[in-house]
């Protein structure tokens, strides 16, 4: 059996976020070198601030400034910083309760080694050189043995507040299509379409997934289907899709290959788009080096009878 295929799959999106009043003030404050918390009804100051009181669920909007100095409440040493983390050299992840706050903020603490860090140690903010209104405007915390800084009296009103941010998300996977699809892909490289038959319901699956989704049993028997097939249904695409270099209009069709019990999806070419019809008989057109047929074109055979493919719609 050939080795199962594997390839990296990176999913990466730049999500936009509207901040709402509280996060807007907090991030704009960081840009201006001011740390803001929010006061709850029972007089506690939460840093970072939240929009709703975690205890009473009431909306809270009373912003107060806290000091850029504080105390480590707990920490963990990070031996090997990873991509995107605040510092490139080993550092401590620390929860820091800023002077004037009742809750702690998570950030990096720059220290020469774990022996230089302890709970209760005094630290202060090291501001980033260029600040944009993001949590990274705090470059990190650093050890500090001076007197507590005094908080200013800022109340969160700013000129030109930041109202939205872009939050990048990235996931790194190793993707494997599995045994059945690997065999299918290998067969395609010889321009053959090979599915698998369910031992129970006898249906032939293209592409095979190694198991029958209705019977829940493994499929192993290989069955070559096509290359010809019937257009069961289709649509005419008139809008250009992002990342697809296909001129519109084009026909996107469901094609039941002869011998398959499930239609696959492909583009139809070699015929004006407005002459494509249900029942049209088609065959694949390959381009050198491509994994899948470029498109399907009419074979010239008479159209299939509706009754012959209506169960495959």
């Amino acid at each position: 059996m050939p080795e199962v295929l594997k390839a990296p799959l990176v999913v990466e999106f730049p999500f936009t976020r509207s901040l709402g009043p509280v996060q807007s003030a907090f991030l704009t404050g960081l840009r201006e070198g001011v740390v803001l918390g929010v006061k709850t009804a029972d007089g506690r100051t939460l840093v970072p601030p939240v929009e709703y009181d975690p205890v009473t669920a009431e909306e809270i909007r009373d912003l107060v400034e806290v000091a850029p100095t504080g105390t480590v409440t707990t920490w963990a040493w990070n031996h090997e910083p990873r991509r995107g983390q605040p510092l490139a050299t080993p550092f401590a992840w620390a929860l820091v309760r800023l002077d004037g706050a009742d809750t702690a903020l998570l950030h990096a603490l720059d220290a020469p080694g774990p022996d230089a860090v302890h709970t209760g140690m005094r630290v202060r903010i090291r501001w980033a050189g260029e600040r944009t209104g993001a949590i990274t405007d705090i470059a990190c915390f650093e050890p500090y043995d001076g007197a507590p800084d005094r908080a200013g009296g800022h109340t969160g009103e700013f000129e030109d507040p930041i109202t939205g941010i872009v939050a990048h998300a990235r996931l790194d996977y190793t993707y494997s299509p599995g045994r059945a699809q690997t065999a299918y892909i290998h067969a395609l490289s010889g321009q053959r379409t090979v599915g698998e038959r369910c031992p129970s319901c006898r249906k032939v699956y293209i592409p095979p997934r190694g198991a029958c989704p209705t019977c829940g049993v493994a499929t192993l028997e290989q069955v070559e289907v096509g290359p010809r097939g019937t257009v069961t249904t289709f649509c005419i695409v008139n809008i250009k899709a992002k990342n697809l270099d296909i001129e519109v209009p084009y026909v996107y069709a469901h094609i039941a290959l002869d011998g398959a019990d499930l239609a696959l999806h492909a583009r139809i070419g070699g015929i004006p788009y407005d002459e494509v019809r249900m029942g049209l008989r088609v065959e694949p057109v390959w381009t050198p080096g491509a994994r899948y047929p470029d498109h399907y074109r009419p074979t010239g055979e008479p159209d299939a009878d509706y009754d012959a493919y209506k169960e495959l719609l």
Partner: protein, 388 residues
């Protein structure tokens, strides 16, 4: 021991729009939840548990709404659950909440669903570039358009039916202050003259992208007795699913949809849905799905759904009004869309639908579906409690 009857005593929605840049996601869900509490005249302290639903994670990148939104929904110290069934999620979220009341696990449950499509990208979320696979060639509309063509072939429906649905739903939306699209100058000609995107689906026959949230307060018999306004009573509720693709799958009328409806009707004692149900709020993201679902849900025989649409039966003043709110065609915050259907059904039987109220609506079906027509959730609500 029989189930506890479940009542809807509070309903809240945001005004659905293309982009709510003035609020965070927390602020958005809060707005809907507070309106539901106000309707029920309850406070956060009266809520025993919160059940939340949203679109698939990649859509707007919030992986754990149950964690991130607990403060905003007053859920700290209470059970908070998240439900996940693609486009049908708003419906299944409401049913999970309802089941907690029916099973007497909790007395009063807040259920909520949301989506900020302006801060997400459904196209990305639906078409990840999977290695070795052929790229998707047509987008969401291209996925559904061939099934619409199959329906037209199977039923012999004239190709004008889709535009009739869109024209009706957009006019209904004008009567709903919460609807996203308010096309005051809509005409049938305009719908029919709109560009063909994925032939046979026209631009005006597709749903918009919306930001919005919907919330409901569900409670038991004792809670309903204390409610300041008439409740809606759940008479039946069910969910069904099936694989996206399998040999023999009927995309025009999926078996899971038929089975789900049959289960709801059995629970509610509905012998003939066309006769016994007064109105339907169903999930129609592309206009042709109205006649398709009318058949799938048993309101018309196979091939006959389009005749109800064409003859005006599904108009707001028709014999079986469909999508009184303006439907998904007028408002589509995907994660919330299913719950908006359920909420509209409840508004109708409570007599609180305002300008789009159907006179004498006593039993109304709310319907949601999602994925590749593979998840279904429905409830039937009534103005009178179920027979005990």
């Amino acid at each position: 021991m029989s189930k506890e009857p479940v009542a809807v005593v509070g309903i809240g929605q945001t005004k659905h729009v293309a982009a709510r840049r003035d609020v965070s996601i927390a602020g958005l869900v809060r707005e809907a939840a507070q309106r539901a509490l106000m309707d029920a005249e309850l406070t956060w302290a009266d809520i025993d548990a919160v059940v939340i639903g949203k679109a698939p994670d990649f859509f707007e990148g919030v992986m754990m709404p149950e964690l991130y939104l607990a403060d905003a929904l007053g859920a700290v110290g209470k059970p908070m659950l998240r439900v996940h069934t693609a486009g049908s999620v708003g419906g299944s979220t409401a049913l999970v909440a309802a089941n907690l009341v029916a099973a007497r696990v909790h007395g009063t449950v807040l259920t909520l669903a949301f989506e900020k499509q302006s801060e997400s990208n459904a196209m990305w979320g639906l078409s990840l570039p999977i290695p070795f696979q052929q790229p998707l060639l047509a987008g969401a509309g291209g996925f559904f358009a061939p099934h619409v063509r199959a329906y037209m072939r199977r039923s012999g429906a004239p190709d004008t039916v889709g535009s009739l649905v869109a024209y009706k739903d957009r006019r209904n939306a004008l009567k709903n202050p919460y609807a996203h699209l308010h096309e005051h100058d809509i005409t049938l000609d305009k719908v029919q003259a709109s560009p063909m995107l994925w032939d046979p689906i026209r631009y005006s026959e597709t749903c918009p992208s919306s930001d919005g949230a919907c919330a409901m307060v569900l409670t038991d018999r004792a809670g309903a007795a204390r409610a300041p306004r008439p409740p809606a009573w759940m008479l039946g509720g069910a969910m069904r699913s099936e694989p996206t693709l399998f040999a023999g799958k009927d995309f025009v009328s999926p078996q899971a949809g038929k089975d789900c409806a049959a289960d709801v009707y059995r629970q509610a004692g509905i012998a003939d849905p066309r006769r016994d149900i007064d109105a339907v709020e169903m999930y129609v993201p592309f206009s042709w799905y109205e006649p398709m679902w009318l058949e799938n849900l048993g309101f018309a025989e196979e091939g006959g759904g389009w005749k109800l649409t064409e003859s005006g039966v599904t108009e707001l003043d028709g014999d079986l009004p469909v999508n009184m709110s303006g439907g998904v065609l007028s408002t589509n915050p995907i994660g919330a869309s299913g719950m908006i259907r359920f909420a509209e059904a409840a508004l109708q039987v409570r007599g609180r639908a305002g300008e789009h109220q159907v006179d004498g609506a006593r039993k109304v079906l709310g319907h949601a579906y999602g994925g590749g027509s593979q998840f279904f959730s429905m409830w039937l609500v009534g103005s009178e409690p179920p027979d005990s």
